[in-house]
């Protein structure tokens, strides 16, 4: 995955079926290949437009910004990396949270956007997701988190990122005790610290087709076990087969599916 985010240019090649696609066609199909249904990355804002009723999104915690507590420096300083990502994506951070409606049903929605530092979870992403969980608890609303976090816990914030996994999970424990419904939607890719915390803690877990989902990266596993990995290793289909997700749902069906599941779990 050389480049994150929306590919540039008028045309692009589908990585699955190798068909050359007119970008606008692909985008109109919710960033899905019209030929083979390969699910491309879709930015958080477009995801919200698709999932929620028109103009129903009320965004929360828009003013939270990451600091650089470790003064982390790799090829460039972390603070500079954050600025670049903000400019490139138009997002202040990798998570967007808020309240909205799905076909008239009120929900709290959180999204981690793979386009922003691979959707990795640092202090702000952890805080936003926790605020989403706590908000859903307070308002007694269903919670939906759509994760696209290839980076897992964000290395540049070190141990503080790891602690976010415990923080969000603890909030989910309280939400669960309060009887809240949490639907986790896994999209390509959901790995490491995201998979090992909120993303796999849904009462219901859905996944988009052929998303990469897992704990350890393929390279690490290959280097450890020195075996060829199965063809479908760490895909949505692999997880479904091994009993870790409830349903695989095409992006075009997601809105309807979420509304239907919420109705089943409504308390009367």
């Amino acid at each position: 995955m050389a480049k994150r985010g929306v590919p540039e240019g008028l045309f692009l090649k589908c990585p699955s079926c190798k068909t050359t696609l007119f970008r606008k066609d692909m985008e109109e199909m919710l960033h899905v290949c019209p030929k083979c249904e390969h699910h491309f990355y879709i930015p958080a804002r477009e995801r919200i437009r698709h999932l929620l009723d028109t103009d129903s999104f009320e965004e929360w915690a828009t003013d939270l910004r990451s600091l650089d507590p470790l003064e982390f420096f790799d090829r460039k300083p972390y603070s500079e990396r954050l600025r670049d990502e903000q400019q490139r994506t138009g997002l202040p951070e990798a998570a967007v949270i808020g309240k909205g409606f799905i076909r008239g049903r009120p929900v709290v929605l959180g999204i981690t956007d793979f386009g922003f530092m691979a959707g990795s979870m640092g202090s702000v992403v952890g805080e936003k997701l926790t605020l989403a969980v706590e908000g859903a608890t307070r308002h007694g609303l269903p919670l939906i988190i759509v994760s696209g976090s290839g980076g897992g816990a964000r290395m540049q914030e070190g141990i503080l990122s790891l602690m976010q996994m415990a923080k969000v999970s603890a909030a989910l424990a309280q939400y669960d005790l309060a009887g809240g419904l949490f639907i986790s939607v896994l999209t390509h890719p959901t790995m490491g610290g995201a998979a090992a915390s909120f993303a796999t803690l849904g009462d219901l877990i859905l996944a988009e087709p052929k998303a990469m989902i897992g704990f350890a990266g393929r390279r690490t596993i290959k280097a450890t076990v020195r075996l060829e990995l199965p063809e479908d290793f760490q895909t949505s289909e692999f997880l479904l087969q091994h009993g870790f997700i409830d349903r695989i749902v095409r992006r075009a069906d997601l809105r309807t599916e979420l509304a239907r599941l919420i109705d089943y779990c409504e308390k009367k």
């Binding site: 939270l64 910004r65 990451s66 600091l67 507590p69 470790l70 982390f72 420096f73 790799d74 640092g122 202090s123 702000v124 952890g126 926790t130 816990a153 964000r154 290395m155 914030e157 070190g158 141990i159 503080l160 990122s161 790891l162 602690m163 976010q164 996994m165 415990a166 923080k167 999970s169 603890a170 989910l172 424990a173 309280q174 005790l177 490491g192 610290g193 998979a195 090992a196 915390s197 909120f198 993303a199 796999t200 803690l201 897992g214 704990f215 350890a216 990266g217 690490t220 596993i221 450890t224 076990v225 075996l227 990995l229 199965p230 290793f233 760490q234 692999f238 091994h242 009993g243 870790f244």
Partner: protein, 322 residues
């Protein structure tokens, strides 16, 4: 004397110790009867100062090497040195009995506790069986099952953390490594008995945190706790893990006890004996035991609701942002 595993920066210490031993031998005994010569006493003082100097100036990467020292006391060593009894409880009731994560009932003086921790293995046979302390999903499932048992009978839980990370393998993924760790984080946060965690060696990422959601989280002076290993970080940032890049990564990640305390991730740093716990395991065990007893005393008598509330508040505060 058996050959010992020496870290490069320990060379001067071992040399000084060898010459001290020669002097003592020449004087006929170690002088513990009070007859040690002035010279021997002076050398002993210098040796202690040398150890103190070297170990107070360890770089983060050198600290990682100490944390991984093959002679460093491990879970089963502490079981023998600290606890009066260990009734191991095997199995996760679903798949197997992970040998990298041991769980059982134990006595610590008058306290009955549920004790668990990663064990890396002290010889090749143990290490192979334990996957060098890298637990599989069944290990995490076993841990939370036993914690729930402890909760049922009001037993405090002690978790000794020492793992390079959760095992990265095909079976581990097939059996839901991510899911099991996540489940532990959620469930640990609401266990209604005291949970005391101490990182005794390596605190490797999610594999460490999977038994790390405690009311108190302590760390031994030369242990480390990190979101990613220095090797992993170096591989991502500089493509290769050389001594130089691993060293830079260890520096950048702020993974030493002192850094973790500054970031409010650990409550206590437990001092190690002069020269590291691999040199004086018994002394380390005494200090660790004292630490655990103090934590048990402080947490005893706090109501279940309050324990859960405090634990939630502790992790709720984690992170730095504006």
């Amino acid at each position: 004397m058996a050959t010992v595993y020496q870290l490069p920066f320990e060379k001067d210490i071992y040399e000084a110790e060898a010459s001290l031993a020669r002097l003592e031998a020449a004087a006929g005994g170690d002088g513990s009867d009070g007859t040690a010569s002035e010279e021997v006493r002076r050398i002993r003082r210098e040796l202690a100062a040398l150890k103190r100097r070297i170990f107070s100036q360890l770089t983060p990467w050198q600290t990682v090497l100490v944390a991984r020292h093959p002679d460093r006391p491990q879970f089963l060593d502490y079981v023998e040195m600290i606890f009066d009894e260990f009734v191991e409880l095997h199995g996760d009731r679903a798949f197997g009995d992970d040998r990298a994560l041991r769980t059982g009932l134990a006595h610590l003086d008058d306290h009955k506790v549920m004790l668990m921790g990663h064990h890396k293995g002290r010889n090749l046979a143990e290490r192979t069986e334990c996957f060098y302390g890298c637990a599989h999903p069944e290990g995490y499932r076993k841990a939370i099952t036993k914690m729930k048992l402890a909760a049922k009978y009001g037993l405090p839980i002690i978790c000794l953390i020492d793992t390079p990370g959760a095992f990265p393998g095909i079976g581990a993924e097939e059996r839901g490594q991510a899911n099991l760790i996540a489940y532990n984080l959620l469930e640990m946060s609401r266990i209604p008995t005291p949970i005391i965690c101490v990182v005794i060696g390596e605190g490797g990422s999610g594999g460490a945190l999977g038994i790390g959601v405690g009311n108190r989280v302590g760390i031994l002076e030369f242990a480390y706790y990190s979101v990613i290993s220095p090797e992993g970080c170096a591989g991502i940032l500089w493509k290769t893990a050389t001594d130089e890049t691993k060293s830079r990564a260890a520096e950048a990640l702020k993974m030493t006890a002192k850094d973790l305390q500054r970031l409010s991730v650990v409550d206590d740093v437990i001092p190690e004996p002069l020269g590291g716990s691999h040199r004086q395991p018994r002394e380390m065990a005494v200090t660790l035991k004292r630490h655990l007893l103090r934590q048990l005393r402080e947490l005893r008598g706090i109501s279940s609701d309050e324990l859960v509330r405090q634990r939630y508040a502790k992790f709720r505060k984690m992170g730095m942002f504006q």
